[in-house]
Amino acid sequence: MASFGFGLVTASVLAIAAIGFTLQFGVTDVLNLAYGAVMIAAAFIAYVINQLGVSVWIGLVGAVVACSAGSVLLNAGIYAPFQRRGTSPITMVIVSLGMTLIIEFGVQAIAGGTSVSYTMSQGPTVTAGGLILSTVQLVVIGLSVLVMIGTHVLLRYTRLGKAMRATAANKTLARNCGIRTGRVITITWALTGALCGLAGVVFAMDAGSFDATSTDLFLVLILAAVFLGGPGQAYGAMLGAVVIGLATEISAAYITPDYKYVIAFVALLVMLGVRPTGLLGASQ
């Protein structure tokens, strides 16, 4: 049961990150591998604010705002110009990989190579039914649930969400129907950048100690969750995050933890072999 609790926490952090990643990809057509680097930049922004004697929760808000703005700028300054030139998707992946290294090593150059921690309390530990979770972990789970509900409400009940779905489905048709797709894409970068910032700070809170390269492996988990659920599928990302998060932690309880990521990726490969479009992807 304790492993289930660990899996819930991992899945929660993963879900926040994966929802942002898959929304970004679905609407903007950019498979942004720099997402993990932006996450760790967010973690360090919150750290800098925290080191000024301010609560890390306020730092979280600052990081969310900064990453939202930063993601819009990243698109406007880097990705959009490449897309306007008709750059192929695979080349865009390489561009985003380049941005990953630029951001990550940029953070490292400024913050140094050593690991840092927030000055914060994890709060009282709550034990119930075999679950052992700190207050901060419960807050992270709560935030994740809020993000999932918020995403559902956004996509299902708001004009913006419908415009995002239309843009994702067929940009040209959406534009012909009067949707200002350029604005929708910009707002999507802002929203997903905010989710990226939120994911980065809760990731760092959960890890306890982090450095400039801490999200490298986590990015692979995000990709696994996104592709397991079906790329571009918001609900698929939620489901994928839960499956990957629980699979890694629960499997580690029964076999050596060395193989917990192996188990997650074996599950992904089996899934893709059986259903290449992912759990919630459209049939081809």
């Binding site: 190579g113 690991s115 100690s209 599928q233």
Partner: protein, 457 residues
């Protein structure tokens, strides 16, 4: 809520391959180097053939060590000793008319990154006179290269392969890792622990501790409750922490630098009802960044109350320590990457022994009247081990004066007397260190050679 599915199988494969490569890059990445502020090198000659430097030029000491990645705390520790030693040497008139400067060469703690970084160092560093650092992370790959360039190096690696392989330019003032494993078990004996869990990082430098530790635990009659390997790229170790707690150890022996150990400590504390399990660390844990991260993870007083580490015996008083502490503390705030309580560097093995190494090399240059490593190298042994009738001296300034007066010297720095063997290894004995809640290092005991012998295979 369906969006389109535009990614075909081949793109997916490329993405996963790229992501996997990225994970590798994150832990290794590209190499970089930066020169410390201060003196500027003026010669344009390559150092690959180790010639004597041009008169009046500045000599460079390269700190080849991790400045990023999980072991990133090591590089700044060594750099602090370099800054302290070179400043003291420069203020005493330098070496044969040369001033000294320090240069950092980032290996990222990865052999694959260390090799190009070292090659670049040789290609771009005029008047390179000495290399320090070379930890277990990268020593196996860079020591042959440095030796091939006929460059003297003082290495911090504990790998046992250097006990019996002769590299003429290799010098080491720290013991092999297996002795440090014995020291950790000896600490457990002193503290009357019976059940020990192991939790070591998956890097080369940490993995070398495990087998000697397991053997020593068996010899000591202790129970190995569990052996957990920590993936230094992972962000949580909850499962490993739970496994450790469930095995009910009296203490945990660990070395997993970077963010791994602090994260593990936090998760153990959380899953163990807020109670920390005592920790026995290696000498690498005696560094300000490690204390800062661990203290932030579980609380400074909790960490201080539950932590012991082995460390090589270093002076804490006397003329050698006075000179060392004065030189080192004068560099507070000047060393790039040095964070936390700077006084911790006075006890950090790298800080102490590389300071001694630099002094030994500088004095050997004066003794041989050459800055060429192939010429001054052999005199390191004479100055370290001493010759009959040699005058014992404790600082560069004092030793240089004695040398210039025509007397033989034996240098005894803050690391104590040296005794190089035929492989240029000089290993001391161990002490037991703890931290205070403010991060200061306290010596709480000593380990005798007999204790370690009793635990060896």
């Amino acid at each position: 809520m369906k969006f389109k599915t535009p990614v075909t199988g081949w793109v997916l494969l490329v993405v996963i391959a790229v992501a996997a490569a990225l994970t590798g890059c994150g832990s290794s990445g590209s190499s970089s180097s930066s020169t410390s502020s201060g003196a500027v090198s003026s010669s344009t000659a390559s150092s690959s053939s180790s010639p004597s430097a041009a008169s009046g030029s500045t000599l460079t000491i390269a700190d080849v060590a991790p400045f990023s990645g999980p072991d990133a705390a090591l590089g700044p520790t060594y750099l602090a000793s370099c800054y302290g030693a070179t400043a003291a040497i420069n203020s005493a008139g330098g070496v044969l008319g040369h001033q000294l400067t320090c240069k950092s060469v980032d290996t990222r703690g990865d052999p694959a990154d260390a090799v190009p970084a070292v090659n670049q160092m040789f290609a771009t560093t005029p008047n390179l006179a000495l290399v320090i650092g070379c930890t277990s992370d990268e020593a196996a790959s860079v020591v042959p290269i440095i030796n091939g360039h006929q460059m003297v190096m003082f290495c911090m690696t504990g790998q046992s392969e250097f006990d019996s392989v002769h590299f003429p330019y290799f010098y080491r003032l720290v013991p092999p890792d297996l002795e440090e494993s014995y020291a950790m078990v000896a600490i457990a004996q002193q503290l009357h622990y019976k059940r020990i869990a192991l939790a070591f990082g998956n890097d080369i430098g940490s993995q070398t501790f495990i087998q000697p530790a397991i053997a020593a635990l068996a010899k000591a009659g202790m129970v190995l409750t569990t052996n957990q390997t920590l993936d230094l790229n992972a962000s949580t170790f909850r499962t490993e922490a739970e496994a450790i707690i469930q095995s009910h150890p009296d203490a945990i022996m660990t070395e997993a630098l970077g963010s791994a150990d602090p994260t593990l400590f936090q998760e153990i504390s959380q899953l163990n009802g807020g109670k920390m399990i005592p920790i026995i660390g290696t000498s690498a844990a005696i560094s300000p960044p490690f204390f800062k991260s661990a203290a932030a993870a579980v609380g400074a007083s909790t960490f201080a109350n539950n932590f012991h580490a082995d460390n090589l015996v270093v002076e804490s008083s006397g003329p050698a320590f006075q000179a060392f502490s004065q030189a080192l503390l004068a560099q507070q705030g000047k060393v790039p990457g040095a964070t936390g309580d700077f006084t911790t560097y006075l006890s950090a093995p790298g800080g102490v022994h590389l300071y001694d190494g630099i002094n030994l090399a500088a004095l050997a240059m004066i003794m041989s009247n050459s800055t060429s490593p192939s010429v001054y190298g052999p005199d390191i042994i004479k100055i370290g081990n001493g010759v009959p009738g040699a005058t014992v001296c404790y600082s560069f300034a004092g030793c240089a004066t004695t040398l210039k007066a025509g007397h033989a010297i034996r240098y005894e720095g803050p690391g104590g007397p040296t005794n190089f063997d035929s492989y240029h290894d000089s290993t001391g004995i161990f002490q037991v260190d703890t931290y205070s809640a403010s991060g200061q290092v306290n010596v709480v005991g000593n380990l005798t050679a007999a204790q370690l012998r009793a635990l060896s295979g």
